[in-house]
């Protein structure tokens, strides 16, 4: 990685970094002196054990993502980190956060202005009855075991890696939009600049370097968790093994997501 790249990376990560520091997540590492010269990813501490040494095309890991609905505070940091990481064009979303408000007449009010990018700083004022419950639900690619997007892509531009990532090859994509129609979770969009399909990748490029996805990295309340299910010490492994209330989105679609929700409510689609 040359110097310009490093600067760019630091630029991109700065906000994430500061957020983490503020939230205390890596406050302890603030004083760590980063040795100059080594590639950025080498200088940051490894966040996914065993990734740095693994140079095989596909790792033997089985990645899973867990979103803790009960923890999310709707700050939108993840959305900001994502937009910065990928330069996502306005009006399109690789990830977003939804706000659910349920009143005491069981009316369910959902919104996600600008995908939650600006954070939910003001309460909704249009709820007719007293609010009985409210929560936030972050959304991203479900990295389906049986991805409809991969099934329908006519040229194989959308494909699945052996370690469970569904990715888009921008050099092959013809921009037909079929995958956008097929994804039950609407996580895909057609990038108006590249004219190809795009979606959340769980930050494959970071993961390959042993770093957590950008959104996971910045979440101040640790509502987004990522790890390897083959690693019995990983948090995601433990959560999925223990008797929690866990669900996936639209299980009836048969896509078998690798994205799990802790404390998911039945109101969530």
């Amino acid at each position: 990685m040359n110097e310009i790249d490093i600067k760019k990376e630091i630029q991109k990560d700065r906000r994430a970094f500061i957020k983490n520091v503020l939230s205390g997540a890596i406050a302890g590492s603030l004083l760590v002196v980063i040795p100059a010269g080594a590639a950025l990813d080498e200088r940051l501490p490894e966040q996914i054990p065993g990734m740095r040494g693994d140079k095989s095309t596909f790792t033997k890991k089985r990645f899973a993502f867990v979103v803790d609905v009960t923890a999310c505070i709707g700050c939108g940091s993840c959305c900001v980190a994502d937009k910065n990481e990928y330069n996502v064009p306005d009006g399109n979303y690789r990830t977003w956060v939804e706000r659910y408000v349920i009143d005491d007449h069981d009316g369910v009010f959902v919104d996600s202005p600008n995908g939650g990018l600006d954070g939910y700083t003001k309460p909704r004022t249009d709820i007719p009855h007293p609010v009985r419950d409210t929560f936030f639900v972050p959304k991203l690619c479900n990295m389906c075991e049986k991805p409809s997007c991969v099934q329908v892509c006519p040229v194989g531009a959308t494909y699945k890696t052996e370690d469970g990532f569904t990715l888009v090859d921008q050099k092959r994509c013809v921009g037909c939009g079929y995958c956008i129609q097929a994804c039950p979770y609407s996580v895909r969009f057609l990038n108006p600049v590249t004219r190809t399909a795009e979606k959340c990748t769980w930050c494959y490029h970071r993961v390959r370097k042993g770093l957590l996805p950008a959104c996971v990295n910045v979440c101040p309340v640790h509502a987004r968790k990522f790890g390897d299910l083959n690693d019995k010490n990983s948090e995601v492994y433990k959560i999925l093994r223990e008797p929690h209330v866990i669900s996936v989105l639209k299980p009836g679609m048969g896509n078998q997501p690798a994205l799990h929700y802790l404390g998911l409510r039945r109101e969530v689609v």
Binding site: G91, C153, V155, G156
Partner: protein
């Protein structure tokens, strides 16, 4: 706690659309694509009714329908290419297709069908072409030389062989036309994520509406061209076409309604969304226009025209009107399926809106150009291959 007591907490109080669902990605071009392929398949069926099923009264339009089908088939890929973000990569669909993709098959089905249609046209027109080649000069002479597939043998024996080949091509052409259009229906019907599309009836409805639009297209253009060129219209032929149109339209309309009724009757949680769609954003284009005006009226008109033998002038007055109505019905149906399906968000809680613009890449103007193109192409084809058999060439054939 009424709703919650029944697990019914999905009440769509707020119109919530997933942020990425605000865009309608498949717009006018994808409305036109099944419309054009439908016209092709339908016109081919008309020609086969004569060539395979020997409905003699359709003889006047049997050749014309093939040329009509060819003109539209030539343009069938245009809306697709205009729609693609990277049309320069379109060939990878055929060179490196993904076998699990419903879309990847289109190139193959399209090409195969193109070849069959072209061959059938060449064989049918061979005697005419040989005849025309005799009197033509210069470029036209060479063109006719090519079109006669290198043989100017029009002996009785040679023509008999031709007829066998034609019958064979027309026969395999029917299942291929059905596959072509049933398959287009499957491109939508196979998308489980979209409750409006995901029904096994989709290929059938697409196919039936294709037949309907093709027949209507032939009736309209036949009467129009004859009127404009001052030739005599074969009333028997029009009457027969009207009867077939009615027959196919009964099936088409009934299945369209049955599909909706099944959704309503089964009332799965998808019905929530569909109901909101049909009573909201699609109310006008579906209930008022597609069903109310352009299905019910033509349905009864066709019924009366089929059961009662109208005076010739009356028949020739109503036939083009009813045909245009049917053509619009099918166009509306394509719109309601393609665009309508994308209006409901996969959030199951709301709908987005869509208004086509005039001058976008996939806007109204390009759509109109693409719909006019086949007509222009047909006109050029008509300069080379005569639509109708005049006395002389009929005798020669």
């Amino acid at each position: 706690m009424n709703a919650a007591a029944h697990g019914e907490t999905l009440a769509a109080v707020s119109n919530y659309v997933f942020p990425n669902d605000l865009h309608v990605h498949w717009s006018l071009m994808i409305v036109l694509y099944p419309y054009i392929t439908g016209l092709v398949a339908g016109a081919f069926i008309v020609s086969s009714l004569y060539h395979v099923f020997h409905i003699k009264s359709l003889k006047p339009v049997a050749r014309f329908s093939l040329l009509f089908a060819l003109a539209f088939l030539i343009c069938a890929t245009w809306p697709l290419l205009n729609h693609l973000g990277h049309p320069e990569r379109a060939m990878s669909m055929m060179l490196t297709p993904n076998p699990t993709s419903a879309m990847a098959g289109f190139g193959y089905i399209y090409s195969a069908y193109f070849i069959v249609l072209l061959l059938e046209i060449l064989f049918i027109f061979r005697p005419v072409v040989v005849e025309l080649g005799k009197t033509a000069t210069g470029f036209k002479k060479r063109l006719y030389g090519i079109l006669s597939i290198g043989s100017d043998n029009v002996s009785v024996k040679a023509l008999k062989l031709d007829h066998k080949i034609i019958a064979f091509l027309a026969a395999i052409g029917i299942p291929m036309a059905c596959v072509l259009h049933g398959y287009v229906g499957f491109i939508f019907g196979g998308i489980k994520a979209n409750p409006l599309w995901a029904t096994p009836l989709m290929p059938l409805i697409f196919l039936l509406s294709a037949c309907v639009s093709g027949i209507a297209g032939i009736i309209f253009s036949y009467i129009l061209i004859m009127k404009v060129s001052g030739r005599k219209i074969d009333v028997d032929c029009v009457q027969t076409l009207i009867q077939f149109l009615w027959g196919f339209f009964i099936l088409d309309f009934v299945f369209e309604m049955l599909e909706l009724f099944s959704h309503f009757y089964m009332a799965t949680h998808h019905w929530h969304t569909l109901e909101a769609l049909y009573s909201g954003p699609l109310f006008n284009t579906f209930w008022v226009y597609q069903v109310g005006i352009f299905s019910v009226i033509p349905f009864f008109l066709l019924m009366i025209m089929s059961l009662i033998r109208f005076k010739d002038s009356l028949l020739l007055f109503f036939a083009p009107i009813v045909s245009v109505m049917i053509l619009l019905q099918v166009l509306l149906m394509r719109w309601n399926v393609v665009v309508g399906g994308q209006l409901m968000s996969k959030s199951e809680r709301g709908a987005t809106t869509f208004h086509p613009m005039w001058f976008e890449k996939e806007g109204l103007l390009p759509a109109i150009i693409i719909m006019i193109a086949p007509v222009v192409i047909l006109w050029f084809i008509g300069k080379v291959l005569p639509f109708w058999m005049d006395k002389d060439s009929a005798e020669a054939a």
